[in-house]
């Protein structure tokens, strides 16, 4: 009995890995990254822009650091060949044209990283006005990529 559970778990893990190839894995990781980002951007939007009375400096610093860390994690490496077609947590919305627009995408990725780093710096000061302004720049850098390589639903 004691052996069966770990064995079953191991088997499940192996089959899951076998069923989802590298393409699916890349898509799943990047979808997870954006989902995690949205928690942190949502927190900043809520506490700095929509309901400034809920501003919590520590949470904002943590959110900005998480955004910067995720931006710097090398997300662009998760856009390997064929990853416009697979299903991660759900169907990828990457446009096939992405593969012809790599230079532009790399530039946009660099902008995102730059603005996210700046946001982490600004967040540390606790200046809500400055955080709001820099948060807008991060949002604009997100939009740059959405407009370029993401399929509309």
């Amino acid at each position: 009995m004691k052996v069966k559970l770990p064995l079953a778990l191991a088997l499940t893990a192996v089959t899951t890995a076998a069923l989802s190839g590298q393409v699916e894995e890349q898509i799943r990781f990047r979808q997870s990254a954006y989902s995690f980002l949205s928690w942190n951007t949502g927190k900043i939007k809520s506490q700095v822009v929509d309901h400034p009375e809920t501003f919590n400096k520590d949470q904002i610093i943590a959110a900005a650091n998480a955004i910067a860390a995720t931006a710097n994690s090398g997300l662009i490496n998760l856009y390997g060949p064929g990853t416009d077609q697979g299903i991660g947590w759900k169907q990828s919305r990457l446009r096939p044209e992405f593969f012809q627009k790599q230079d532009e995408a790399k530039e946009l990725d660099a902008t995102f990283i730059k603005e996210a780093n700046e946001l982490a710096k600004v967040a540390a000061t606790g200046d809500a006005g400055a955080i709001k302004a820099q948060f807008g720049k991060v949002g604009a850098s997100c939009k740059g990529c959405h407009d370029l390589i993401r399929i509309r639903e």
């Binding site: 954006y34 949205s38 928690w39 951007t41 949502g42 927190k43 900043i44 939007k45 809520s46 506490q47 822009v49 929509d50 309901h51 009375e53 809920t54 919590n56 949470q59 709001k132 302004a133 948060f135 807008g136 720049k137 991060v138 949002g139 604009a140 997100c142 939009k143 959405h146 509309r152 639903e153």
Partner: protein, 235 residues
């Protein structure tokens, strides 16, 4: 013989030019994104208010503002193409353009209420529906923009065509309300009823305000009230 008459009442003209400004503002803020996305949403609220105003005004406004007087029926369109249309308000083809523009703007304003941008924007009624439905509506929002751009191009081309080919200036009457028409057709619109105008403004702004203030969302979905939304992400 020509005579100058009033054809467009001032609330209609005010509506038209405010809508022009608002649509340009919505377009620019929507394209730039970032900080301006919230302004895009607010301008969308203004556009929604203007549309509600125009729809009500289409029933209670003066002569040529009323849908019933310019609705492009088959008979009117047929008469127009045979050269037998002698009205002085929107001609039947222009009326098609008016209704198409109002319809697509309504789609834009309505989908915008439920939209999200996967960055930091959620429309004021987003909390009432699933994220996946919101994504679809956001897609329709983007698609409707393409349709709007096409209709606006057509609108401007038609104005240019009337100006250059038919020697018929459409822009000036939309500014002044006055137009030179044949004496046989000359009849001015009645004065604008102040009470009607005020009531129309009150109704449309109240509707928009109740949506925008979050009252509609919190009434329909009290669990996700503004207060919980404010702190929900920090847990």
């Amino acid at each position: 013989m020509k005579e100058t008459v009033h054809i467009w009442d001032w609330p209609l003209r005010l509506f038209h030019w405010l809508l022009v400004i608002a649509v340009v503002g919505a377009y620019v803020t929507g394209k730039l994104g970032g900080d301006l996305t919230d302004w895009h949403g607010r301008i969308g609220g203004l556009i929604l208010g203007l549309l509600i105003f125009r729809i009500i005004w289409g029933f209670v406004g003066t002569t040529h503002a009323r849908f019933v007087n310019f609705f492009p029926t088959f008979g009117r369109l047929a008469a127009y193409f045979k050269g037998n249309w002698h009205g002085i308000g929107h001609n039947p083809v222009g009326a098609l353009s008016v209704l198409a523009l109002l319809a697509v703007l309504t789609v834009l304003a309505a989908t915008g209420l439920f939209a999200n941008d996967d960055i930091a924007f959620e429309g004021p009624l987003f909390s009432l529906i699933d994220k996946s439905l919101s994504d679809k509506l956001s897609g329709i929002h983007a698609l409707a923009l393409d349709v709007l751009m096409g209709l606006l191009a057509l609108h401007l081309a038609a104005i240019a065509f009337h100006q250059l080919v038919k020697k018929n200036n459409l822009v000036l009457p939309m500014l002044t309300g006055r137009k030179q028409v044949h004496k046989a057709q000359a009849s001015s619109i009645p004065a604008v009823g102040a009470l009607r105008f005020l009531m129309t403004v009150v109704i449309s702004s109240t509707l928009v305000w109740s949506i925008w203030s979050g009252n509609v969302a919190s009434y329909l979905n009290p669990v996700d009230s503004l207060q919980t939304a404010a702190v929900r992400l920090g847990w």
